[in-house]
């Protein structure tokens, strides 16, 4: 029964876009070396193409002569519940959907989005790791995967406002921009939230946060449950419509940016005339247009590097902007890790991995490679524009007893405002 739900989802999702790419694979195995989980742990089953097995089997057995033949000759079996349980661990606990593999595939197969489709089948079958499912359920019922209720949210916003002495407009009618934060920032990195508020205020932005569209993180998107993905985005779009804003600014969260900017228009109605931007590109715009001024060399005291987040840089294209800002803030001390930009290695905690306790060993193993990349350039600090990455960095650096400091870009910009 479970399996049938998954198969139905796979068949529903399999249009020419999916099929043509599944057909293009030559089984060369090169994608394995691009996967940080395979590199770190050496498990052949972590090869990205192997993660597509449930989708491939469902597709071939239904739509291709070769697939039907293999089934008839007993060369391949139908998917079973046990298969789903097996691959669920692989696609949720050893994949951040970072899509690095697509950049090394000689055929250019978009493995990341295809693995997302595999997850969609798992979500339909209810074969999702317990921790992830629990957080998703909290977001559905309470409004936040961390369980932040409306009252807690309001108290926390007031507290940040008082503590950092910054004005945070709530539900302001007539605002131009709706700023949507993550619960991670609200609860774990309030400095980042305060920093963004400070930057927007300094720029004279007519902005607001919303008490109804208050969570930008999308655990439905991590699970790849399309209905929940839409529901969580709908809350924000509804708030944007009610407030009549012209712009939604996505906070420092990679998956949220991917969902709102690159997915929403294809799966649901996005309010007309509402632009979706990431806070990093917006800060860059504010700086370039002279609406904020930054102190040159404000962070030039220590070697600082930039971590490219999979969804904001490789999948989002915001590669140049944070670098331009960092080169202003740390003109002589900014150093690139290798590899970087589109080819960078993911932090290991994205795609919901960090929320799954059982995947801790996996993400620490991946992070060890990231740590080596930072140590290779003697980095004393690292900056990033994704709270999920930041959570992984803070937790993993502590795990490895490293003294490298972690900054959100907004937090650095706020400190450098003149």
């Amino acid at each position: 029964m479970k399996t049938q739900s998954a198969i139905n989802t796979y068949l529903k999702e399999t249009g020419g876009w999916v099929a043509s790419q599944l057909e293009a694979c030559t089984r060369c195995g090169i994608c394995a070396e691009a996967c940080h989980f395979y590199q770190a742990l050496g498990n052949p089953e972590y090869a990205p193409i192997w993660k597509l097995e449930p989708l491939r089997r469902a597709y071939e057995q239904r739509f291709t002569i070769a697939g039907k033949l293999k089934l008839a000759l007993g060369l391949e079996k139908k998917l079973t519940d046990a298969d789903l349980e097996h691959w669920s661990k692989i696609v949720y606990e050893a994949c951040t959907v970072c899509n690095k593999c697509a950049h090394v595939c000689p055929m250019g197969i978009e493995l990341g989005p295809l693995i997302h489709e595999v997850r969609a089948g798992m979500a339909a079958a209810g074969v999702v790791p317990g921790d992830l499912a629990e957080a998703t359920e909290k977001q559905r019922t309470v409004g936040s995967p961390l369980g932040v209720t409306d009252e807690m949210w309001r108290e926390r916003i007031d507290w940040i406002s008082d503590e950092w002495e910054v004005d945070i407009p709530v539900d302001k009618a007539g605002a131009e921009s709706l700023m949507v934060f993550t619960s991670i920032e609200l609860m774990k990195f309030p400095d980042n939230l305060a920093a963004i508020a400070k930057i927007l205020n300094q720029a004279g932005e007519n902005w607001t946060v919303s008490s109804t569209g208050r969570e930008v993180v999308n655990f439905g998107y991590f699970e790849a449950d399309e209905e929940l993905t839409k529901l969580f985005m709908y809350r924000v779009f509804k708030a944007a419509e009610d407030l009549g804003v012209k712009k939604i600014i996505i906070s420092e969260c990679g998956h949220a940016y991917d969902a709102f900017r690159w997915t929403a228009h294809n799966i649901m109605k996005v309010p007309a005339g509402v632009k979706i931007v990431h806070i990093t590109e917006y800060i860059h715009e504010l700086w370039k247009t002279g609406r904020i001024k930054l102190k040159e060399g404000a962070f030039d005291a220590e070697i600082i590097t930039f971590h490219d987040s999979c969804k904001i840089q490789r999948r989002g294209g915001i590669i140049r902007q944070p670098r331009e800002i960092l080169k202003l803030l740390a003109p002589t001390r900014f150093k690139e890790m290798t590899p970087n930009k589109e080819q960078s290695m993911c932090c290991g905690g994205g795609g919901g991995v960090i929320s799954i306790k059982e995947a801790d060993a996996n993400r620490y193993a991946v992070f060890e490679m990231k740590l080596e990349q930072m140590q290779d350039i003697q980095a004393q600090a690292v900056c990033m524009v994704c709270s999920n990455c930041r959570l992984q960095f803070v937790d993993s650096l502590a795990h490895f007893n490293s003294t490298i400091k972690v900054h959100g870009l907004a937090e650095m910009v706020a400190k450098a405002l003149v």
Partner: protein, 225 residues
């Protein structure tokens, strides 16, 4: 049936039937995929999709084959890249510029062109065969490839290896009588043509889909594919 008759059969009806199966089979594969439907992409672009596609093809066809070490994955897959690259290059050169193959193209399409010197073709056909053997050894030993390789992939290898090796023997006039080795070459080519629509050798067609999709996705997001 003697070898002369076998040759007549294999260069006539067998090859023609195989060619028909190949064309019909591949057309079916293509139409099947096209008919599964293509949803319109309504997401606003950040960069140019077309430019991304052009860049991706340039990178894949002009840049990376000649300086593969710029890929970071090259280091850990050197064997696959070099042997795979040489195999494809050899296959293309021998098929397109071998004297005997040019005659086949002429009979099929009516046009012909200048062939490469025989020693060059011989060198590349040997290179192609050696590359294929290296790829087989790699497939037998690499943990990921061992796991990914099921019966159809082994059949792919045999189906490609046989025409190459029989072609090489025939062109070098080794060991066999002409009509024997020519028949074996044609039979193996026919088997390959019949097999292609069933297996993953058909990637040469779907390459254009995945490569275009990847380029468009990168272009849309304003990143380097």
């Amino acid at each position: 049936m003697n070898w002369t008759e076998i040759l007549t059969f294999s260069r006539g009806p067998l090859l023609h039937v195989a060619l028909m199966i190949f064309i019909v089979g591949m057309s079916y594969r293509l139409v099947r995929v096209l008919l599964l439907g293509w949803e319109r992409d309504r997401v606003p672009n950040k960069g140019s999709k077309i430019w991304g596609v052009i860049l991706n093809y340039l990178k894949g066809l002009v840049v990376l084959p000649f300086i593969p070490w710029v890929r970071r994955t090259f280091r850990n897959n050197a064997l696959t890249f070099i042997a795979g690259g040489l195999f494809h290059l050899s296959l293309f050169l021998v098929l397109a510029f071998g004297t005997a193959h040019i005659l086949v193209w002429k009979s099929l399409c009516g046009i012909s062109w200048k062939s490469l010197p025989t020693p060059v073709v011989a060198f590349f056909s040997a290179t192609g065969i050696i590359s294929l053997i290296v790829l087989l050894i790699n497939r037998l030993t690499h943990p990921v490839l061992k796991m990914l390789t099921k019966l159809p992939v082994w059949i792919n290898w045999v189906m490609v290896f046989l025409p190459m090796v029989t072609g090489f023997i025939m062109a070098r006039h080794l060991w066999f009588r002409y009509e024997v080795i020519f028949s074996l070459h044609l039979i193996s080519v026919s088997l390959l043509l019949i097999w292609i629509p069933l297996g993953r050798i058909s990637h040469f067609l779907f390459y254009f889909f995945s490569k275009t999709i990847h380029g468009a996705q990168a272009g849309k997001r304003a990143i380097m594919p």
